[in-house]
């Protein structure tokens, strides 16, 4: 018994440390890619291909025109090479364009892809009870469990379907949390977004299963611009998971997504991300530029929004999942582990905007830097004058694994009344040599010891992840640290 247990453990460690990016395959499926470049015609074309109503085209065009007036922001602690926005194809979709009616209709190659990713759709449907919406190259290919969710009135579908089937809902909420003027990438996404997920949980419904989306960039020289919109009506609850992978390519690819969440009275949304886009090779060649705008609006009283993220991938990560705590007694949470290795760069954190009275927020951010990477936490906690009795606690720790890596903390605290309490603390230190030595003594190699220590360090955040994701995330941390010793 013991032997088999220890064998099992060994296999886990082996698979966890056996190296490189395992999602780096390319699926040879027929993809519909439009020529490179961005213009009003491209925006119109995307809208036309997707049979969109006039108002959405208008929205896209307004966004596009606004985007033209904007400049690429440079304030982050990131070294971003010049991006040629005309060298990207803004629409790539697996053919056929018609949505599949059942699993049998899904392209077998595509299904193999998702099997490789460990998200066999059938498996997911049968065993884990997670409803999956898989988005490949910007287009949603399959949403599982739709029928069962429909019984409860839960809408979980691709955003293009939602535009077709529930235009009023989409129109009401789209751009209400992240307006197209918000920032450079939000404007770009609003102009060219091709698909994404839409979730609506009606009043009083507790979503019986976790909803999940997998994003996959497959085609070369394309960008991915998906958009997620989640609305939890009064007293509703939903836990939403997001995972992402991409093939290994020498050139950089752009991913600029928007996630908008609206949380009404007493509702709760839990949003978990395991971000594992291709991070580039050991010399920093290739990898995804991950520039994402994620924001939730806790509009109702006693509403709650919780962001949990494990960021191990992407050449450059630039994202700040935020909470606008508008309702009285609303709660915002942000738990993050960001690991960078080799030449990865991450500038990530959160914003907590306290507008409602007695709103509370918690931020726990753990950064791990190895290799030549740069890892920054950037956050803002703002309490407006009328938001009395607010409470925020922020903790951001950085762990440094190499002398060539960097860990930075840039928090902003802006308190405009007397009855709120805001706390921030941060530490930066090297991995504890005594702990590594202790592990070595017990026969654990330095590399495994680091994996153990890092997982222990990140445990506080991992504990917030749903079970299935926690296991995957734990493995990811170890894999991403591969080769960082010495």
């Amino acid at each position: 018994m013991e032997t088999s247990q220890s064998n099992k453990n060994n296999t886990i460690i082996e698979s966890a440390t056996s190296g490189d990016y395992k999602y780096g395959f390319v699926t040879e499926i027929d993809t519909h890619i439009i020529p490179k470049g961005l213009s009003e015609d491209v925006v119109r074309y995307i809208s036309q291909v997707k049979n969109e109503p006039e108002w959405l085209l208008e929205f896209r065009l307004k966004a596009y025109r606004h985007w033209l007036t904007m400049k690429m922001p440079r304030w982050a602690h990131l070294d971003i090479p010049e991006i040629d926005f005309q060298a990207i194809s803004y629409y790539a979709a697996p053919k056929p364009k018609e949505g599949p009616k059942s699993l049998d209709d899904v392209d077998p190659e595509l299904r193999k892809t998702f099997d490789k990713l460990g998200i066999s759709l059938e498996e997911q449907m049968r065993l884990s009870g997670i409803a999956v919406d898989a988005v490949m190259d910007s287009v949603s290919v399959k949403t599982t469990y739709k029928e069962r969710l429909a019984e409860l009135g839960v809408i979980f579908c691709s955003i293009s379907e939602a535009v077709r089937d529930y235009p009023d809902l989409v129109r009401r909420y789209l751009g209400s949390v992240v307006p197209y003027r918000d920032n450079f990438f939000a404007a770009l996404n609003s102009a060219v977004f091709s698909d994404g997920s839409f979730v609506y949980i009606p009043k009083g419904v507790r979503c019986p299963m976790e909803l999940s989306t997998y994003f996959r960039i497959n085609a070369a020289e394309t960008g991915q611009f998906e958009r997620t919109l989640i609305v939890a009506d009064d007293d509703a609850y939903v836990s939403y998971l997001e995972g992402c992978t991409a093939p290994m390519r020498d050139e950089n690819q752009l991913h600029a997504a928007i996630v908008e969440i609206v949380v009404e009275d007493r509702a709760e949304v839990k949003y978990s991300t395991v971000q594992n886009w291709y991070p580039g090779d050991k010399d920093g060649k290739g990898g995804i530029y991950n520039f994402v705008t994620k924001r939730g609006l806790c509009r109702g009283d006693f509403s709650k929004l919780s962001w949990t993220q494990v960021e191990t991938g992407s050449a450059i990560t630039w994202k700040y999942p935020s909470c606008v705590l508008q309702g009285d007694n609303s709660v915002g949470e942000f738990y993050s582990v960001a690991l960078t290795n080799n030449y990865q760069q991450a500038d990530t954190g959160t914003k907590m905007i306290h507008i409602g009275k007695n709103s509370r927020s918690t931020i726990v951010s753990k950064g791990i830097s190895a290799g030549h990477s740069q890892n920054s936490y950037r956050g803002e906690v703002k309490v407006v004058p009328k938001a009395t009795g607010c409470r925020n606690y922020t903790q951001c720790d950085s762990l440094l694994l190499s002398s060539t890596s960097g860990a930075h903390t840039f928090p902003r605290i802006d308190v405009q009344n007397e009855s709120s309490i805001v706390e921030h603390e941060a530490t930066t230190s090297k991995i504890n040599e005594d702990q590594i030595f202790y592990c070595n003594q017990r026969g654990i190699s330095t590399e495994d010891a680091i994996g153990l220590i890092v997982n222990g360090y990140a445990k506080e955040v991992m504990a917030k992840l749903p079970m299935e994701f926690a296991v995957e995330a734990q493995k990811l941390l170890s894999i991403s640290l591969e080769g960082s010793v010495g």
């Binding site: 304030w75 602690h77 830097s369 004058p385 009395t388 950085s398 440094l400 694994l401 190499s402 002398s403 060539t404 890596s405 960097g406 860990a407 930075h408 903390t409 840039f410 928090p411 902003r412 605290i413 802006d414 308190v415 405009q416 009344n417 007397e418 009855s419 709120s420 309490i421 805001v422 706390e423 921030h424 603390e425 941060a426 530490t427 930066t428 230190s429 090297k430 991995i431």
Partner: protein
């Protein structure tokens, strides 16, 4: 509008007068400063590290500059309000930006130079050329503006292994009849093993006229030297201040800076410390007590360019009424600076519903073998402690004062001169009790005895 323009115009129109009333070493940099300013703007509100302070607006009023160095007929004895009991100091004065030395200074025999910057520039041109404008970078718009117009200041030079026993006290007194800007420049050079302590007090006698101090302080702390710098601002609501301090620390040196703002209009203090040698120690402390419409913004940058150094930073604010406070601090550890220990802390109390605090503590760490931390809090006085004291018969306002005093005590504890520590405790107590700014003429601790001000109770 770019408020620099008016100063560039003043400079161009009065170049000759400015040069004539200054010295060659100072004049030499003016052209370069002018070039920088022609293509620059002062930071505006919302710019990086200037989230709450608009320097462009601060410099925008039509301030007069005393280019022809018209001497003010002020009596230093009359103006002296900064006596620290039980502490012997050597006082030096600035009336607006006119240097005035009162009394003699015996220590000059050991090679120590304490004199007007203008005089030093002609007496010790090599020393001034070596350090003046070399520590504060000209590409900073405020520094460039200061360099453009500064005609005088104070120069302190402490030679190798000389210890200044007496604390140097510099008293800045603003007394203007029309809106004016004082352009002050301070240059301090401590050679290897030297030790000095400096106390700078800022006051305003004109309480109805707007004035602005534009101050640049350059300090070079030599190997194993020890330098204490205390700054106490107790001016008035009409008085604004833009001060920037640039310090270079060599190996093994020990630096203490304690900046205190008790009364002011709008203040922006920059502290840029570059720790260039190993085993150096840096203590940067600050305190701000604000009420009314006071605005206090402290910006700090500690660059650890060498390993095995220790830095400790603590800033505390108490904000009342409509006052606003801001703190932005950055600790930067260079890639090849191992074993650095750097701690930064910013604690704030908002005591009224309309007081605002903005804080941005930052760490930029580029190597792994360090221990760095920062913390920031914004909150109120502990309600339970207040209640407890009231149950013991202490009235609420007294209990609040006691708690606020206790809150500030660790900044005062950092002071390394006992007599000054006592004095500061006393001042802070008065400030919280609301009696510090009661006197119409003086921001000090004004106890009027039969219409006469008793000196010992003033700052």
């Amino acid at each position: 509008m770019n408020s620099l323009k008016q100063y560039i115009d003043i400079f161009k129109e009065n170049r000759r007068a400015i040069d004539d009333h200054s010295a060659l070493a100072l004049n030499r940099l003016r052209n370069d400063a002018c070039k920088v300013l022609e293509n620059a703007t002062l930071p505006r509100k919302g710019d990086e590290d200037y989230e709450t302070t608009d320097l462009n607006e601060m410099f925008a009023p039509d301030y007069g500059v005393n280019i022809n160095r018209v001497n003010l007929t002020a009596d230093p004895d009359e103006a002296f309000r900064c006596d620290v009991p039980n502490m012997s100091t050597s006082p030096y004065y600035f009336f607006n930006d006119i240097y005035h030395h009162h009394g003699d200074f015996a220590q000059q025999s050991s090679g120590v130079v304490i004199s007007s910057l203008r005089k030093a520039a002609s007496d010790y041109p090599e020393l001034i050329a070596e350090y003046y404008g070399k520590i504060a970078p000209l590409d900073d718009a405020q520094v460039a503006l200061n360099t453009l117009l500064a005609q005088d200041g104070i120069f302190v030079y402490v030679p190798r292994n000389v210890v200044l026993e007496r604390t140097l006290q510099i008293v800045n007194i603003m007394n203007v009849a029309y809106p004016a800007m004082a352009v002050r420049r301070v240059l301090v050079v401590l050679e290897e093993g030297a030790q000095a302590r400096m106390l700078v007090c800022d006051h305003t006698q004109s309480r109805t006229v707007q004035c602005l101090s534009n101050q640049v302080i350059e300090v070079s702390v030599g190997k194993n030297a020890v330098f204490d710098f205390y700054e106490l601002e107790a001016t008035a609501e009409t008085s604004n201040r833009a001060s920037s301090m640039w310090i270079r620390q060599a190996a093994g040196s020990n630096l203490l800076i304690n900046g205190m703002t008790l009364a002011n209009g709008a203040t922006r203090n920059n502290y840029h410390i570059s720790v260039d040698g190993e085993h150096a120690e840096t203590h940067l402390l600050g305190m701000a007590i604000a009420s009314g419409k006071q605005h206090i913004d402290n910006h700090t940058l500690i660059c650890h360019n060498a390993g095995y150094c220790h830095s400790n930073e603590l800033f505390k604010y108490v904000l009342d009424d409509n006052s606003t406070g801001a703190f932005s601090g950055k600790i930067l550890v260079a890639p090849d600076a191992p074993k650095v220990e750097a701690y930064q802390s910013n604690r704030n109390v908002c005591a009224s519903t309309s007081a605002k605090m903005f804080t941005k503590p930052q760490l930029v760490i580029n190597t792994d073998d360090v221990k760095c931390s920062h913390g920031a809090t914004v909150g109120q006085l502990d309600q339970e402690a207040l209640f407890y004291m009231q149950t013991r018969g202490i009235p609420e306002h007294e209990a609040r004062t006691l708690l606020m005093q206790a809150f500030m005590s660790d900044v005062i504890d950092g002071v390394r001169i006992d007599a000054l520590k006592d004095r500061l405790r006393h001042l802070v107590e008065k400030r919280f009790a609301g009696t510090l700014s009661n006197c119409g003429e003086c921001a000090g601790t004004c106890l009027k005895v039969k219409g006469k001000i008793t000196k010992n109770d003033e700052i």
